[in-house]
């Protein structure tokens, strides 16, 4: 069994408190096959991985060549996204999964479940302030 472990990162809140939040450093492969590293919030509540339109451009994808899909959250209204199949590297694992690129500029980068949480068991360890991606043994 392989386990890839990432530390939580500290962030200051509006009232000055420090919160540690779960992040993972994930590499996304561009159209030119080069890898681009981004820290993502590890978000078990997100159906799909989310980035921004400008990140789509950075990776070399044509935004609107993706599948139009609307994304909702607990606070905001709907966000227009275009979903592409993108190759990711998490730990030493390379795999392709759906990634939604939002037209809205200020969305956080989220690592969502589609194509990720079915591959790894994801364990949030708030006490140790780490997130573990556990890759079960194959059959």
């Amino acid at each position: 069994m392989k386990v890839f472990t990432f530390p939580y990162l500290p962030q200051r809140t509006r009232s000055g408190l420090i919160y540690f939040r779960p992040f993972a450093l994930v590499y996304l492969q561009g159209v030119d096959r080069r890898w681009h590293p981004f820290p993502f919030y590890v978000d078990a509540g997100a159906d799909v991985t989310l980035l921004r339109e400008v990140d789509c451009q950075l990776l070399g994808y044509e935004l609107k060549a993706g599948k139009l899909q609307w994304m909702g959250g607990v606070c905001a209204g709907l966000i227009c996204t275009f979903v592409h199949q993108v190759t990711l590297r998490l730990g030493t694992e390379v795999f392709t999964c759906p990634v939604a690129f939002a037209e809205k500029a200020d969305v956080p980068r989220l690592l969502g479940r589609a194509g990720v949480f079915n591959r790894f068991q994801v364990c949030y360890d708030d006490a140790q302030r780490v997130t573990r991606f556990i890759l079960p043994e194959g059959p």
């Binding site: 069994m1 386990v3 990432f6 809140t13 509006r14 993972a24 590293p37 981004f38 730990g91 043994e137």
Partner: protein
């Protein structure tokens, strides 16, 4: 069952730098913020101007959120 755990570091941005760069994308090389941009493309371009010899794989682009909430529900 044998368990192999690999720890991957993510560069921590000091809280004072988070305040300074809130709402921006920063480019990180060797664990340090080397460039700042309004978006990932701008941050990466500026970092590559400083470190043209570095592959993009060595340049981490990290968005610094504005501290505009106490709790995040993503």
């Amino acid at each position: 069952m044998e368990r192999e755990e690999i720890f991957f570091d993510i560069p921590q941005i000091p809280l004072e730098e988070q305040e300074k760069y809130a709402g921006m994308d920063v480019a990180i090389v060797d664990g340090k913020v080397v460039a700042v941009g309004r978006n990932s493309i701008e941050a990466l371009r500026k970092a590559r101007e400083i470190f043209p010899e570095r592959d993009v794989e060595e340049i981490i682009i990290h968005y610094i959120p504005k501290p505009d909430a106490d709790f995040l529900v993503l």
